[in-house]
């Protein structure tokens, strides 16, 4: 893990952008300090030899069960759609509204 660039405030800003979290410039130093401490603790992992160990993504080494690709809950009258869209902050004509993306 030694080849990684130093965990800098620039990286914090970039990660916040990737995570779509607004981070004000004044928040950068405390975030950087807090995350640096946690990452330093996590770095202990580097001391363990994991050469040749298969990564374990899931508690059981099971294949993902797949089901047939067919509609199981048809919604011809749009009742479900209306129920789910009732939760949205802004909708119109069955569509979710967001600020204009293309001028």
């Amino acid at each position: 893990m030694s080849a990684k660039p130093t965990f800098s405030e620039e990286i914090v800003a970039k990660v916040a952008h990737l995570a779509r979290l607004e981070l004000k410039p004044a928040d950068l130093p405390p975030y950087h300090e807090g995350l640096s401490r946690i990452l330093a603790w996590i770095e202990q992992m580097a001391a363990i030899d994991t050469q040749g160990i298969e990564p374990m993504a899931h508690p059981f080494d099971l294949a993902q069960p797949l089901r047939e690709d067919k509609v199981t809950e048809a919604d011809p009258e749009g009742k479900q759609q209306r129920k789910f869209q009732a939760l949205a902050p802004a909708i119109a004509a069955g569509l979710y509204l967001v600020p204009k993306v293309i001028e």
């Binding site: 995570a19 779509r20 995350l35 946690i38 363990i48 374990m56 600020p99 993306v101």
Partner: protein, 487 residues
């Protein structure tokens, strides 16, 4: 009445000593009177509870009662309830009313149990003290200056204060067992895949598992029998028959081999907690069990590996909260990116954002191998440590937590010290094993939990082993003075 176990209350209902409506009103009244001091509930579902209680009484009259029919229970506010607010203790979901029920909620409804309300928790189940709630912290009924643990802190405090005979919780790194320990009650995290996660709001999908918090192992056996089972809507739910967990409770445990991991009794463990655990182990020896020292040699790496894997999965799962389809949206977004960024920055609390940041970093190009893959390799080593141990022993025991309940604010400014309060519980989640926490005594009048870890799908054995201890001890019947207040 309030100190009766769920099993005793079910017997009382069956004998007709009281109706479900009377029992439900009794607990609703206790909640209204005592919970303002604890803050263990986010939402009370009084009207719905009355409807369900009346239906339960009808069902009993018709001779159709199931074991939980008419029993009031509380649901952690992470389980979706149709028509009743489900917040996950987040500003993001402050006004969210789920359009469907979680599998677990459906199962309780089918059994005829009564929903009292939704319990407080750490936001999106991220925390070990219940201080990360948009609705304020929950207090521990044993000592109102201390935390109840987390993330299922509201459920644990409510059961400890006898505001509900049982409650549900979820456990991603200890979130059932740690609050159960700090509140002096029984809590079991089942094997990963035993209980459906459908409608259980996701934090870390390869770790999350729902389970019950109760006074006793016998109660947990009843409740888990209702919660567990196959559900095709959760692709990780295991299609295996659910045993009747109450059946195995009375089996004798002479000859039981108990593994004691030396890593769980070393540095970091409060010596007073160690004394309580040692006394509990002596009880087990009296019951005929054999103690065997074992080693789970990668234990110290469980924390670092967990704090990569859980945040990585959390950063992916919580990407769905975008201010578009449901949940909080910021005012006057300038453009789509501003909408995403401010909705998420304003809607999530500090700890949730911290974990999203760690996870996003660990999964980003150039760091993935060093962090995420490395953590998954260590996860396998930790799992193999357990599998090797289970060749020698039947169950593994140790403290659930390194110390008793800490004070509010004591660790809230120091995430790392908070993370260390889960050092004995998180490896179990990484391995996907079942584990139980039961009350084993007190240090300074604060409860201590004994953790019992079992092999895959051995929930029945864990509850049997816990129940046998509860037959010869009474720690699980000791009440906080708070629960007796205002009688």
């Amino acid at each position: 009445m309030f100190n009766k176990t769920l099993t005793e209350l079910a017997d009382g209902l069956a004998r007709g000593e009281y109706t479900s409506r009377e029992l439900t009103d009794y607990f609703l009244e206790r909640i209204k009177r005592l919970d303002p001091s604890l803050n263990s509930f986010i939402t009370l579902s009084e009207d719905y509870a009355h409807v369900q209680a009346d239906q339960a009484d009808q069902r009993r009259k018709q001779g159709q009662a199931a074991p939980l029919t008419g029993i009031p229970i509380a649901q952690k506010d992470i389980f979706c309830t149709e028509g009743i607010k489900t917040t996950c203790a987040s500003k993001m979901l402050d006004s969210f009313i789920a359009p469907y029920n979680a599998h677990v909620v459906e199962r309780f409804a089918q059994e005829g149990a009564v929903l009292l309300g939704k319990t407080n928790m750490d936001e999106f189940a991220m925390g070990s003290s219940n201080e990360n709630s948009h609705y304020g912290p929950v207090l521990n009924p044993w000592n109102l200056d201390t935390v109840p643990g987390g993330s299922s802190g509201g459920s644990a405090a409510a059961v400890a204060a006898r505001l509900a005979p049982a409650a549900t919780g979820t456990d991603t790194g200890g979130s059932i067992r740690q609050p159960a320990a700090l509140c002096g009650i029984t809590g079991i995290k089942p094997t990963y895949g035993r209980v459906s996660r459908y409608g259980m709001i996701a934090f870390a999908s390869s770790l999350d598992q729902g389970g019950p918090l109760t006074q006793t192992c016998a109660d947990a056996a009843l409740v888990l029998s209702a919660m567990a089972g196959f559900d095709p809507r959760d692709s990780t739910c295991v299609d295996q028959p659910v045993p009747d967990y109450t059946k195995a409770l009375d089996e004798k445990i002479a000859g039981l081999r108990i593994g004691l991991p030396k890593e769980y009794f070393g540095e970091g463990l409060d010596p007073n907690v160690a004394c309580v655990i040692e006394a509990a182990l002596k009880e087990y020896e009296k019951l005929g069990a054999k103690l065997v020292e074992i080693s789970l040699k990668h234990s110290a790496m469980a924390g670092p590996a967990y704090y990569i894997i859980a945040p990585a999965e959390c950063s992916s799962n919580l990407a769905r909260y975008d201010g578009v389809r449901y949940g909080y949206r910021c005012d006057d977004p300038k453009n789509l990116e501003d909408l995403y960024k401010r909705s998420r920055a304003e809607g999530f609390g500090a700890e949730v954002k911290r974990r999203i940041m760690i996870g996003t970093y660990a999964l980003s190009a150039g760091y993935y191998e060093a962090y995420y893959i490395k953590a998954q390799q260590i996860r396998r080593l930790l799992r193999d440590d357990f599998l090797n141990a289970f060749k020698e022993v039947d169950v593994i025991m140790g403290p659930t937590t390194p110390s008793v309940a800490f004070n509010l604010g004591e660790k809230s400014d120091d995430p790392l010290s908070m993370y260390l309060s889960d050092i004995y519980t998180i490896a179990v989640n990484l391995a996907g094993l079942p584990a139980l926490s039961i009350p084993a005594g007190f240090v300074d009048e604060k409860p201590v939990g004994l953790q019992i870890i079992g092999n895959y799908f051995e929930e029945g054995r864990l509850l049997n082993v816990g129940h046998q201890y509860q037959q010869v001890t009474s720690w699980h019947r000791v009440l906080p003075a708070f629960a007796k207040g205002g009688l």
